[in-house]
Amino acid sequence: MRRFVSLLTAFAAAACFMSVLASAADAQEGVFLTEADAPAAAFGNDASFVRQVVAATPELRSAMRQRLGNMEPSVWENEYVAFKATRGDTLLGYAVIVEEIGKHRAITFVVGVRTDGTINDVAVMAYREAYGGEIKAKRFLNQYRGKSGSDALHAPDDVKNIAGATLSVDAASRAVKKAIAVVHAAFGDGAGQ
């Protein structure tokens, strides 16, 4: 019994430790959804999903370019992960994972495209830079001489919650258009027109 409790305690402690590590890692990497979670974020938990990989062949890219018109994606993926979404016998559409560059680095999105080509939902899966960024102290020594030295040298904390005038989001808009183009090119009319 004692040995069992000791083993259980060790397991629980290890699980706690791994959970903390995982949370910390996710916060720093800005991971919000895994690939497994992504299709439900786009189409809901009550849909069924079948994963497919669509190779970005020259033909697919050509069809996508026709659909995109003047919009040039910032990223051309080598392949697209798409999930066919159904509810019962009804095809709902496709959840497509795409990337577009934000301020500096790629943001990964899952885009739910309905069979009529409209959007069911769009969620951010991951950022490569901390959302909201870090706040770094600019040291204007002349202005702040005499102030608390600890303030000027304060180590920055990650900032997750930011308020300001409404954020415009070009990467998300491009991601949506690209996802629609992928669905149209890969799955044809009736699923992305």
Partner: protein
Amino acid sequence: MIRPATVLILLLTLRGATLGEPVAEIHYIMGTYFRISADGGKPSATRAAMRRCFRQTRSLEALFSRFDAASELNRINHDTSPELPISRDMAALLTQATRLTLATDGTFDVAAGALTALWRGAEQWPGDEAIRNAKRLVGEEAFRVRGRRLLRRPGVRLDLDGIAKGYAVDLCAEQLRQHGVDSALLNLGESSLYGLGAPRGAKDWEVTLRDLNGDGALGTIRLRDQALSVSAVFGHEHRIGTQRVGHIIDPRNGRPLTTAALAAVVMPSATAAEAWSKAVLIEGELKTFATRNRRAGALLVRPGTFAKTGRISFQRAPVVREITASEEPLR
């Protein structure tokens, strides 16, 4: 014999398991990012409640968006009937908007659609007659809501850009509460926020407020069961010739604001906070706001000046801090 330390570790583990991990998702809705961060509770139940919020907000977008040709707003604006049926949410939003127009002495007015359309993307300065004609279509008498029917004067155009996000955030906060989420920060486009409860281990949600340029931080605002709305004159801007023109139009004179300023308003309702953040910018002072809102607070920032009133927990950044990265370039 089981050691006390063993029992303690097991109890702590169990407590951690029942408290749950923080959950956050970001969806692209209403042309911007809607981030919901929730703390505590079972992650699967919390995530389900958050997704109901996102779906609800997307449904509201289909009603209120001026970018969606099929939206209810565009149907209303293109319909010449003096009276027409409207959805429950449209009726609720317009009813609140009417009260806010009265409360702000007309500085906030969703009936200013003719004015905002006149200035939006204008390449030349509109003439006085065009401004006068558009101005005739705004004001308290522009429309009325009776139950689920909208009555309005001919030519009146509605513009819900200044209030729709707040309405969506209010409904979302209520949705989360109803589904047992008591700790969440809702952030719709950085300009309309609600701090529901507080995160684990803290008394309130801490939010960093961008400065006038957008890439620095003015300080932090703390929220607990309160909404925050931020509006800036040059949040969206364009130029007519060499003149910078903000997107906020003063319904009283029919002209856009052209001097840099930022207003941050904290109130119980996100819908009201949105309206008042525009009103504060247009008034250019905090006196009217302070007189009419006892359970609220606000900041008004201009280059070189800073004013604060009422109940707002704001701590100024001690040094100039730069927000070095965000997910998207700021406009």
